[in-house]
């Protein structure tokens, strides 16, 4: 019963078409990926605060401990830095830990281990060791999460060599990217978004992977390129649908992986549209928006017909209050209006 459960439950998403396959919830998709990985590989284990409690990490770890045992799915002390190091050390010695966090904010306590150790060990010891671990965390938003419980930190990590970062936007990707992350031989951060957790989607039953490092078009259109990942894609698609009604057609690119970025797909789209809007769930300064915007100016310059637009959080900490939250977070309308401005200029 996390306090924002009600809020997330109340969100309304388009229903997937069951004729396209089995429909499951986002949470179940994550749960399936964990169960499959635990089942197929004795090296995989899952740890994190409360992964074995009744709320089961938003439901994603439900049933795993009783199925796979308390040595493979276990609770941890409130010791984020040590547990990150423990995960790295286990990974360096033949295991594949999946370390789960309620909030990315808590990962900040472990930046020394993540950034200066896990990400660099394979390089530092000349490839003697690999560090196959997954750091999973769910970005909070709404219901008073506030400045210390809603930080989207992927932007801070874009410059960290050796790290991979994936941010799924659909149940299909949530499962496929998590499986890829677990099988990857590098530390991979997987940032979920709380607001996607009650989304349903078509998800194959068995094992499959979504490749790390490859983006995907969620929609094609020649007028503008909207780029993002995770919940930003939800907003981007809403905006694109609105705009289509006005005769403006957008490419919507879901990066899926924000490090390393699939530069090719962004540049390809930009080549067709000449216009770029970058949408992110995090701050606009110095993060994913900046990286993609700079990429356009650096490698897509000849194609660029209009200024790059960033849509994300202002340079302000997240407020807790409901009214302030409404002013703080961008929505589809803001994206649509930015696109209109670009296309009509």
């Amino acid at each position: 019963m996390p306090w924002d459960e009600g809020l997330v439950n109340s969100l309304v998403y388009d229903k997937p078409d069951p004729s396209e396959g089995r429909v499951v919830s986002y949470v179940q998709a994550v749960n399936e990926a964990l169960a499959l990985a635990l089942d197929s590989d004795p090296e995989v284990f899952v740890l994190g605060q409360g992964v074995d409690d009744p709320t089961a990490m938003f439901g994603t770890t439900k049933g795993l401990q009783s199925k796979f045992g308390s040595h493979r799915v276990f609770d941890t002390p409130l010791s984020e830095e040590a547990m990150m190091g423990v995960s790295a050390g286990a990974a360096m010695n033949g295991m594949r830990p999946v370390y789960m966090h309620n909030r990315p904010d808590f990962v900040l306590l472990a930046f020394n281990q993540l950034v200066t150790h896990a990400a660099k060990f394979h390089f530092m010891d000349n490839g003697q060791t690999t560090v196959p671990m997954v750091v999973w965390a769910a970005i909070g938003r709404g219901w008073g999460s506030g400045a210390q419980h809603s930080q989207a930190i992927h932007g801070m990590l874009l410059g960290v060599p050796g790290l991979k970062i994936v941010m799924p936007s659909t149940p299909y990707d949530a499962k496929g990217l998590l499986l890829s992350a677990i099988l990857d031989n590098n530390p991979v951060c997987l940032f979920e978004h709380r607001w996607l957790m009650k989304k349903d989607g078509v998800v194959p039953e068995g094992f499959y992977r979504v490749p790390i490092g490859k983006g995907i078009y969620r929609r094609r259109g020649g007028d503008v390129t909207i780029v993002g990942a995770s919940h930003a894609i939800e907003l981007g698609m809403q905006a694109a649908t609105q705009l289509a009604g006005e005769g403006i057609e957008a490419d919507v690119i879901d990066l899926r992986t924000v490090k390393p970025i699939d530069e090719q797909i962004v540049l390809e789209s930009l080549h067709n549209t000449g216009r770029l809007v970058v949408v992110d769930t995090a701050w606009m300064k110095g993060g994913l928006c900046a990286e993609i915007g700079c990429l356009a100016a650096e490698k897509g310059f000849p194609d660029l017909k209009a200024p790059v637009v960033r849509i994300g959080l202002p340079d302000v900490p997240a407020p807790a209050g409901f009214t302030l939250e409404q002013f703080y977070y961008p929505d589809a309308a803001r994206i649509a209006s930015a696109v209109r401005g670009l296309v009509r200029s």
């Binding site: 409360g50 074995d52 409690d53 609770d75 999460s145 302000v316 009214t323």
Partner: protein
């Protein structure tokens, strides 16, 4: 079933009050009871209304832990500072925080104690010494030590108390803070409410069977343990620690076993989900800090049912007024969002 009680109560129940009562005037004792009752009734009203979704804020109720907050803060002066973790309501109210400002904050109104930026986990009011809170477990601890260092450097006659939980002792920063405060002998009291759980994780999955008190003491500071359902014992123990700090003799760690009767967060109890036994909660409810103290005060003829009813009515009307105030208060505007990002 006693066998399902993982963390039994080990105190002396209502017999535990007698040794301390002599030191207090009857009025003061009743005042302590009233302060606890007020917190209980406020929490219950918040809980009752929470499902209406007008308080769009996470809550961490202190129902069951009132004696700790009240006993502790009653040993402090207005000028002393309290820092707290996420479970703020008890400390805020006991330290003298304004109920209207608290409820406005919880209703996300501009006149909330932090202007709708913080919500329930950030009840802060420097005017009454409720100096800072953090929603990050352990996050406020070194900040409180820094406050104590500032007090020491400025030779002020103040002490700092930081409210933490049992799980907070697992954060590395806690050990670092104990070491530094012992090294510098800064005037601080680490007030550790051990309610045996971190969200739904029992102590046993997070720590070996170590003695928290002895662990704290190994950092070279006095460490005490006190029955957290006994408001007088808490007050007495904190008073000693505060006197120690005021005398320039440095920090004290106090372990305070308590029990929360509700879920970690939100309204209602969640024991039925199975992470703790309902029997455990029930056993602790039998030593409800309000119940015990009321029994003692009744036994010693200091409180009648009638006076309690009178108190309840008074408090209920205060609470109703404060909710009305909050609900009638204005929302922040977009411009408010951009204030106080940087200080001038």
């Amino acid at each position: 079933m006693a066998s399902n009680i993982r963390y039994p109560y080990k105190g002396q129940g209502d017999q535990g009050f007698d040794v301390f009562a002599g030191a207090h005037a009857p009025d003061a004792l009743v005042g302590l009871y009233r302060a606890m009752l007020r917190i209980r009734l406020i929490e219950e009203e918040i809980e009752r209304r929470y499902h209406q979704d007008q308080m769009k804020t996470p809550i961490h109720l202190v129902i069951g832990q009132e004696a700790a907050a009240v006993g502790c803060c009653s040993a402090l002066r207005l000028s002393d500072l309290v820092y707290s973790s996420h479970r703020t309501h008890g400390a805020y109210l006991a330290k003298g925080g304004d109920l209207k400002m608290m409820l406005s904050e919880m209703h996300c109104r501009i006149n909330g104690c932090v202007g709708s930026r913080g919500g329930s986990m950030h009840l802060i009011d420097k005017a009454v010494g409720m100096a800072g809170t953090s929603a990050i477990v352990g996050g406020v601890v070194p900040i409180a030590v820094g406050a104590a260092l500032a007090i020491q450097m400025k030779r002020e006659d103040r002490v700092v108390v930081v409210f933490i939980g049992d799980a907070t002792t697992e954060e590395g920063v806690m050990a670092e803070s104990l070491n530094f405060s012992a090294l510098k002998k800064v005037p601080i009291v680490f007030f550790c409410e051990n309610n045996f759980y971190s969200v739904q994780s029992p102590l046993a999955t997070r720590q070996p069977a170590r003695d928290i008190r002895a662990w704290a003491e190994s950092h070279r500071m006095p460490a005490l343990s006190v029955d957290g359902v006994n408001v007088l014992a808490v007050r007495d123990t904190v008073s000693k620690a505060v006197a120690h700090a005021r005398a320039g003799r440095g920090p004290t760690f106090i372990e305070v076993p308590v029990y929360r009767f509700r879920a970690h967060g939100g309204a209602g109890d969640d024991s039925k989900t199975g992470y703790r036994d309902v029997a455990e909660r029930a056993a602790w409810e039998a030593v409800d800090p309000l119940l015990l103290f009321r029994q003692f005060l009744a036994r010693t003829a200091q409180l009648t049912d009638a006076s309690v009813m009178h108190m309840e009515a008074e408090i209920a009307s205060e609470i109703a007024g404060a909710f009305e105030h909050a609900l009638a208060s204005p929302n922040p505007t977009e411009a408010d969002l951009y204030r106080h990002v940087y200080a001038d």
